[in-house]
Amino acid sequence: MSERGGPGSVGRGDRPGPTPVSGSTRTGPTTEEAALAFEAAGVKTAPALTEENLRDLDRDLDARVFGAMQSISIRYLLLVGFLGSVVAFGAFAFGWQIYKGIGVAGINRPVFWGFYIASFVFWIGISHAGTLVSAILRVLKVEWRMPLTRAAEAMTLFALMIGGLFPIIHLGRNWRFYWMIPVPNERGLWPNFRSALMWDLLAILTYITASSLFLLLPLIPDLATARDRTRGLRRRIYGLLSFGWRGTQQQWHRLHVAMRVFTIVVIPIAVSVHTIVSWDFGMTLVEGWRSTVFGPYFVIGAIYSGMAALITVLVLVRRSLKLEDYVTLRHFDRLGKVLLAVSVIWFYMFWAGFLTDWYGGSTVAKLIQHEHLVGHSAVLFWTMMVVNVLIPFILLWFRRVRTSMTAMLVISLLVNVGMWIERFLIVTSPGINSLSYNWGSYTPQWPEIAIATATFAAFALLYVLFSKALPLISLWEVKESWRVDRWRREGLIEAESDVPPLTMGVPAVTGATAVTGATAVTGATAIGGRGGAS
């Protein structure tokens, strides 16, 4: 394999077009011709990449990513220590709550759910960014997603791991949580599948499984690259995790097929998960919760907060890992546009539910709205409206804002504050219910605040640890996109080619077109590590 992946064979692409395919109206022009064509077209940012350039770029990318992974500074250790201690304090608060009783949290009758469930919905929402950016953009064959996918998929998994803890933390008897798991047990009792909470459990477990695989599958070639670039214990671990990846044609083919299947499968899973989370509320008899619009409303809310969280993470990762060349301003420009669009859709969905409740005339629902608009929760409600609707809508129209790191960081953080408030307002609305004698309010107590804070620290900690263990940028996909770009410019594949980057290495697809099978295969092989010979 290594010979086929070597520079000699790949270099073939540099020479004037490969053997013209008979019957084809167009043969591949030379690199120089392509460069001239681009120059004539006024495309200044189109350097004619030779295979040598590409390999330099590859080396540079690898060096940066693996360099950052292997250097551990004092600042890094301090950060890990700080985040770790916040998490530890949260764990202490949880222990305290178990020891004293769930009553140390601010929940009461009638507000039986509080911070924990709001955080649960919030984190499950965050987890949607990974799926959206990665899977939807994969399906749509959007190429600028390349440097973003890994960071987004990791976010999905971490957010799910954290979000999935909250339903357990919030139980009255946390130590009995496994009674919800449908396994044969000594009590001879099956869980109640009519309960939306059971749907929740199954949906989240499914989503965790799917998103883990969705993260791990495209990691394999990069793990192989990591294996080839490290020594000692690290090498052995990476070797184990890369499942003997050698970059053979067959392996690439299987990876691409698996990714295509997963990309399609994971989207309905993600949508269903947040719909089911919304049904915890929407399917009840509780005024202010009972709603038909909650399903799509929660899904779009999840995408909204997820996109915002992704932007936050990207700004920070880009800066701390010095990835300015790969995660470019163009990416933020486009993410900003998506965020603007989602913001508008979110407001529309919110309004659809709000107006229906108001027009429906239910006394309790209207009282809850009254509290939101001018009552006790008005400050929270209007903060949410300003940061979720007004600020993004005014600012994100401007390219200068979308390409300013500070502005994007602030906006994305504000959106998530707003989305957190939104969940909080929904979860605590049963404070107003049908029998007014039982009205109550909710004030979070220190264990709830400590645990909620700890989960943010845990999320950051997982990310910080991840950044040292695995490449945060999907190396092979970035490299692949460069080659696709090059071949497109050289006319080896059509400009608006429907040859998706994912199938590029598969001769069955590309071999029949102007690209010779050999080039395609060897090009792909060169991307994913140095194969078995190393």
């Binding site: 009461n108 139980l171 009255g172 008897r173 869980p191 919760w289 109550g440």
Partner: protein, 227 residues
Amino acid sequence: MVVDLDVCTGCQACAVACLAENNVGIVGEEEAAIGSAQHWIRIERYWDEGEYPEVRAQFLPVMCQQCGKAPCEPVCPVFASVHSEDGLNSQVYNRCIGTRYCAHNCPYKARVFNFFAPQFPSPLEQQLNPDVTVRSVGIMEKCTFCVQRIRRAREQARVEDRPIADGEIMPACVQTCPPGALVFGDAGDPDSQVSRLMASRRGIRLLEAFNTEPSVVYLKREGGLDV
């Protein structure tokens, strides 16, 4: 059960009797102030329009309505809230893991939660009812219509080989109610006192719009006591 709102004086004797009969924990002032008092039956007090002293209070005793279509039952993931064969809505304490979903879905807010392990300040621990479980921390509980009394009467009747007489079963609240505003009996028996009272034109069910088919019928106020 029938609750005659014309007769209820709001004296709260039922609530005290219930605490004693059913081993309901004492939560203390602070918890009660945020609404977490454990009362299985509570007297809700509503003020009519008007300025003191020209104002009337209305009392509404609310306990679990033992709904025919109980909204608390389908939402429980672990079958802690189930329907019994005799139509009661029972709470199985040792199945409960404390999701509190049932409490949210109950429109009557009849369910109370053990946010802490129940306390029985001395000498209350001396009078715990041996027929009733003492609950633990983190589980949901609610009015059972004094199921222990129902079971005992049924077994007594079976031993004596006779049907249960009307008025033989008395939950603690019914037994205690000084003006006799609460009446308990078999609604399936057309000759029982509850059946006759339920047929009254004053009869209403609480929050009927939720379609929960409650077993408790309230006889609405038409005169009676001014309080």
